[in-house]
């Protein structure tokens, strides 16, 4: 017997491809632009969102029948804020350097549209287990794009991956740099992320033409 029923499995699979929060729903773009200059920051951001969205969806789902609908946004905010503070404190305690590079963007997970979007659209109307899967699925879909963008931006912009100089040393002129290669400064600045995300959207839609919106 499969671990998940087919319906449940789709909750995780869909956001990874045909219903991706970034490339299809165009949510969470702001953080995808801001922190993807390095792969490490992208991965940590993805994990943080995974935690916040997974746990947050379960909490909201459990509370869904006792939250008065008039103040539901405020309740959701309180839940996200609490979770984000936990993530922030953990990062500060165990990865202080990294928390400094991510700086304000961990706090800004609160404003990540994907999180409020999933709370509103899914957790308020479904049971905890389904909501958990939905949260994990969407956070993974978000994380995949973040890691892809981070990979290309760090590789082309700084010539490194996770801080390791994979293309050689630009100062000592080793590896690719010895034949005149240079880092692409354009990839470091946030607009480049917009273009990389655009190219991902392009590739995805030309593979699956059903995703192309009516003009």
């Amino acid at each position: 017997m499969a671990l998940l029923s087919k319906k449940d499995a789709n909750l995780i699979k869909d956001p990874l491809a045909d219903n991706n929060p970034i490339t299809i729903q165009v949510l969470g773009i702001c953080s995808a632009l801001a922190i993807t200059a390095e792969l490490k920051a992208s991965v940590v951001m993805a994990i943080s969102v995974l935690f916040v969205l997974g746990v947050g969806n379960v909490v909201i789902s459990l509370l869904r029948n006792i939250i008065p609908s008039k103040i539901r946004i405020i309740v959701q905010l309180v839940v996200v804020a609490a979770l984000v503070i936990i993530v922030d404190q953990v990062l500060k305690a165990f990865a202080y350097e990294l928390s400094k590079t991510l700086s304000v963007f961990v706090g800004l997970i609160i404003t990540n549209c994907i999180i409020m979007g999933r709370f509103e659209a899914f957790a308020l109307g479904n049971g905890p287990w389904k909501s958990f899967l939905d949260g994990i699925g969407n956070a993974l879909g978000y994380g995949v794009i973040l890691v892809i963008v981070g990979f290309f931006r760090e590789l082309l912009g700084s010539g490194t991956l996770f801080g390791i100089k994979v293309l050689g040393d630009p100062v000592a002129k080793t590896g690719l740099y010895s034949i005149g290669y240079e880092n692409n400064g354009f990839m470091i600045i946030p607009p480049a992320a917009l273009i990389v995300v655009g190219i991902i959207i392009w590739v995805q839609r030309s593979k699956n033409r059903a995703l192309i919106e009516e003009a």
Binding site: E182, G185, W202
Partner: protein, 414 residues
């Protein structure tokens, strides 16, 4: 020859490679084969002729750029000649040899990569290859420094053609000028190769740090650092100054511009209003200096006190106004809109020059910005016209049309 081509065409018709073949078949000229049914009238001034005219206007700049590449190279090594003579110092084979070995590869890479991508997209999407890239491919080598590494140019051209043009649907659908997109990409991706005092003279980068080090700062670059002008006015006008390959000679640009205006290819409205805009901004800055509002130790002082009309002689402003701002696809379409569009290009170019020492040349940024605003300008011009006409309609007194009937009625009653 023609017969054979025609047979080949019929053979490839409907096949996947058809667009690529048709592109070569109709290169520069539309073939004189006619359709056999219905009436067809073709204007002679089609896209092909438009593009060819612009390329013709660019050729003098390209040739001058080749000579200038050599001239700047040797002058940087041996010092500028004491008494300059055009034929002994400038139009020499040595200069031309340097020029052709540095500039020609830029042209070849620009055309090779750009047209390759155009053909690829035409075959994939099944549309015809348009001549649009012929102009872009010619503009690109003229607006980059002479020593730009070829692989950088190749990447930038690929980026500019794909992201700047093909994703929007190809020639005629692009929002931004592709040549300037390529320039902007190079500028932000490889700033060390696009600014400073090493890149404008051939060989300066390799010689840096050695005993034979040479350098050549552009006029704007040295002004931005607050140093005094070392080139005479006539040097700046004729173009014997360091700079991007083809944009130094204001004289040849003006000739090209006049050619484009009289062949009615480019809009004189954009050119005139851009010049007016640049002069206006220059005058404002000079006025600020004259009024004594800016202390001499300010970092903007040198650039602000630069005589207003000389802004048109240095840097890429003239080239940008004549060949880039007048791009019929990305510019404003309405006549009134062209005035606003051009004016702000000139105005903003000079403003960026003076206020942002990081960007010694602002014309490409100004044109790209106004490219984005062009549809907005057109929108308001059209709306304004509608409003004006509605107003006129409301206040108008409408007379009955005189007609034969009235006359005949009159004669009856009389």
């Amino acid at each position: 020859m023609k017969e054979k081509l025609h047979q080949l065409k019929l053979k490839y018709q409907g096949k996947k490679m058809a667009p690529a073949f048709n592109a070569l078949h109709t290169f520069l000229y539309t073939p004189n084969e006619t359709t056999h049914s219905g009436a067809h009238v073709r204007g002679a001034d089609d896209l092909k002729r438009t593009m060819n005219t612009v390329i013709l206007a660019l050729v003098p700049c390209l040739l001058f750029g080749m000579f200038n590449a050599g001239y700047q190279h040797y002058s940087a090594i041996n010092g500028f000649p004491e008494s300059f003579s055009l034929f002994n110092d400038f139009l020499t084979w040595d200069n031309f040899l340097i020029g052709i070995t540095t500039v020609l590869p830029l042209v070849i890479v620009s055309y090779g990569i750009g047209l390759g991508i155009e053909f690829l997209f035409a075959v994939i999407k099944g549309h015809e290859v348009e001549e649009g890239y012929l102009v872009t491919g010619m503009l690109v080598p003229l607006i980059v420094p002479v020593d730009t590494p070829l692989w950088m140019l190749a990447i930038a051209v690929a980026f500019g053609v794909v992201i700047g043009k093909e994703v929007f649907g190809g020639t005629g659908m692009n929002i931004l000028n592709p040549a300037l997109t390529i320039r902007a990409f190079l500028f932000f991706a490889y700033p060390t190769w696009m600014s400073g005092d090493k890149v404008w003279v051939h060989g300066a980068v390799e010689r840096a740090g050695t005993a034979d080090a040479i350098s050549g700062e552009t006029v704007l670059g040295s002004l931005a650092q607050g140093s005094d002008l070392t080139y005479s006015l006539s040097d700046m006008f004729y173009g014997f100054i360091p700079g991007s390959v083809g944009e130094t000679s204001t004289l040849l640009i003006i000739l090209g511009g006049l050619f484009l205006i009289f062949s009615k290819i480019a809009s004189w409205r954009i050119m005139v209003s851009a010049v007016v805009g640049a002069l206006a901004m220059g005058l404002i800055f000079n006025g600020i200096i004259d009024a004594g509002w800016l202390p001499e130790y300010s970092k903007f002082y040198t650039l602000m006190s630069f005589p207003y009309w000389q802004h048109l002689l240095v840097g890429g402003l003239a080239f940008g106004i004549v060949f880039m701002a007048t791009d019929p696809v990305t510019g404003s379409q309405t006549n009134k809109g062209k005035w606003y569009y051009g004016f702000f290009i000139g105005f903003l170019s000079v403003m960026i020059r003076v206020f942002n020492p990081g960007y010694p040349e602002g014309v490409f940024l100004a044109i790209l910005l106004m490219n984005v605003f062009a549809p907005t300008i057109d929108h308001y011009v059209v709306r304004g016209n509608i409003k004006k006409r509605l107003k006129r309609f409301k206040t108008a007194t409408i007379y009955p049309k005189p007609s034969d009937e009235v006359d005949s009625l009159k004669t009856e009653t009389a």
